[in-house]
Symmetry: none
Subunit: 215 residues, 4 copies
Amino acid sequence: MKENTRKDTKQKIFDAAVTLFARKGFHAVGIRELARVAEVNSAMLNYYFGGKIGILKEIINTAHQRHREAITSTDEQLTPKQHINRVICNFIRFFRDNTELALVAFDTLPYDIPEIIELKKKWGEANIQLLEKLFADIGLDINDTVQVSIFNGFLANIILTHFRGRHAWEQATHRKIHEFNDAFYEQYAEMLTRFYFNGVNGIVQHINKTPQKKT
Amino acid sequence: MKENTRKDTKQKIFDAAVTLFARKGFHAVGIRELARVAEVNSAMLNYYFGGKIGILKEIINTAHQRHREAITSTDEQLTPKQHINRVICNFIRFFRDNTELALVAFDTLPYDIPEIIELKKKWGEANIQLLEKLFADIGLDINDTVQVSIFNGFLANIILTHFRGRHAWEQATHRKIHEFNDAFYEQYAEMLTRFYFNGVNGIVQHINKTPQKKT
Amino acid sequence: MKENTRKDTKQKIFDAAVTLFARKGFHAVGIRELARVAEVNSAMLNYYFGGKIGILKEIINTAHQRHREAITSTDEQLTPKQHINRVICNFIRFFRDNTELALVAFDTLPYDIPEIIELKKKWGEANIQLLEKLFADIGLDINDTVQVSIFNGFLANIILTHFRGRHAWEQATHRKIHEFNDAFYEQYAEMLTRFYFNGVNGIVQHINKTPQKKT
Amino acid sequence: MKENTRKDTKQKIFDAAVTLFARKGFHAVGIRELARVAEVNSAMLNYYFGGKIGILKEIINTAHQRHREAITSTDEQLTPKQHINRVICNFIRFFRDNTELALVAFDTLPYDIPEIIELKKKWGEANIQLLEKLFADIGLDINDTVQVSIFNGFLANIILTHFRGRHAWEQATHRKIHEFNDAFYEQYAEMLTRFYFNGVNGIVQHINKTPQKKT
DNA sequence: CATGAATGAGAATTCATTCAT
DNA sequence: AATGAATGAATTCTCATTCAT
């Protein structure tokens, strides 16, 4: 007796792929394992996604779309510190809701699959533009390579690092860490805002005292 | 006429593995490709390392040993700010000298290979102890989960993130970025020190004003 | 709005199959490709023909029926040379009008599909009877294995060879050869008649001089 | 206990491929069946030939090389009739010794495999040059499309047709036809020579009487 | 130490066909 | 009559590893 509606099958493949890719990496997951976990015939995978790479593409696109939505909801008038806090809270929200999706989309090494390289480039360029507004707002110089190198993807990365570590730990121990609850992430956001705000301020003040030119 | 000494063959395999694993990920690299790049017979790979996983193990061990050496050379008497700066400089030195080695060792997802999970756990635990000294020195509370969550692996990760991005870019574009020279990394270290020091200070001061306990 | 009548769908499948089988061979063509080219749902193919082999069967039957019709219209009273010329013209007409159909029906290797073997045998035996009349008319001995070996399927094959070569060339170069027009085939038929008539005569005369028996 | 020398394995694959491709066609033969018939591990097939297409390539090259050797041994001073007879005898020798090889090489439809198209083109062009000498010797006009269309590949094709039919019959009935022995082929060669010689003469004489121009 | 042949399991994908709608 | 989802077997090819030389 088939209980699947059409939509189910594709979604089941997608979900299983996100989970497995996040745990083992794209290349370590075979489509047979994937089909088994998704409880789906392995040919369906090609039927819906055109191949294994097609699934990865859809994961990457979905992740970046949600990521972008999470970020771009910061268009109100805010003080720099509020701005930072809003970005951090959005990031945390996004990563909490999409931990494995984000890990797959942002961590998968793609240098052997040209299509994925292109896709990552495309999204990477799109993201840079989003950061510029924040950078300008808090007084950082978008043309200073050193500053950009430090802060480009900084907040996303530091938060991603937290979730990567948490995920790794939970996978390795097969135990969920209940400590990481709402209360924790409130504190986390507040402290990270403080840290980032003070850190940036220290830099901006120093630069204003001793201006320097960069090629 | 072959000029290979014993050491050469093993080293050639190791070097090729570091490069290829860094670019494509562990599972995406086949031993035939590896042997071809290393200009070595593919059976030699099993002879010297006992298998593909053996190579990864050796890479992880080598990376963590060098990483540890780089960190533990900070046993002199230093002010907190000097301490931070020293750690940052050591990290940068380490990652500049061992970019691909570190990327393989720290980024390879291993949840399908029990031996690698164990190895990573072992090194992970060893590293935490190293951090405690720094945390204590700059006034952070090692028992506060939020603080630990932010700062655990923070410096290593923010620098690793830089090198991961740089490596990704260089691989994708097949061009070396000459901007990232000694002068750049001097500035980078200085600015990151300032950022970190001010950021931590902001937190410590705030906590001292409103102390709170965490399990 | 779909304008397909029932007959359309079946015919579209048949036509696409003839074209594709002629170009790539029966086994090299998948039913999905076939359905795509025919602009038809792939399930229709089973609905109308009972399976992929069913299409091939219908092609073979159609080809042999038309082939037989083309040949058997030579029942008038003719001189041997006229008889030969009539057969040649009929063959040419048939192959020009049904090039791909004939190529599929006569060239498809079927020794892995018992049903097709049987079908080919059936038509093969039917064709031999048709040749006997021609053979007797021009003085060839139907019981002489050597003569039969040379002339059995001779005319059909030499003409088929021409169309096979022409088709191959046109497919490989994606260009139609306009040289092969009505005028060309008139000359072709005339010259082939002459060649065949003189060739056969040389043999018949020689045999009459030095009669020989064959088992 | 392995009884294979190195050379055996490759040869066994080649031989099995020739037999199977001749019987069922290239695409109808799977590599697993091929490996089973050759009594060889199916991976060896890729090891030695780089893939299924690689085997076909080698078959085509081998066939054309032997074909060319068989033809080009006619460089003595001969009368036209002797020349024709020599070519016919060489063809028969070649096809008797290499029936299946030739059937695969000359009959395999390749319009879906670009590499094979190129290979066939290459050999096709090479063969045309060989024919020119014979054509000139017996008085045919190499620039007359009609004549070339009739005689291009004529002798090879009429003999190939014989062997194709014989092979098909023997495969379908699973019985060898012992009638086709040395004595038969001597007669066959003689009669075909006579047929061809008289047929060509009829054409040449007719053309000399009523010369015509062709574009 | 080094080689190239060999192995058997597994990779991703496509196959012809069936079935409920 | 027609559709699109589903199936399970089959496809070619590659995998990491072993072994005799």
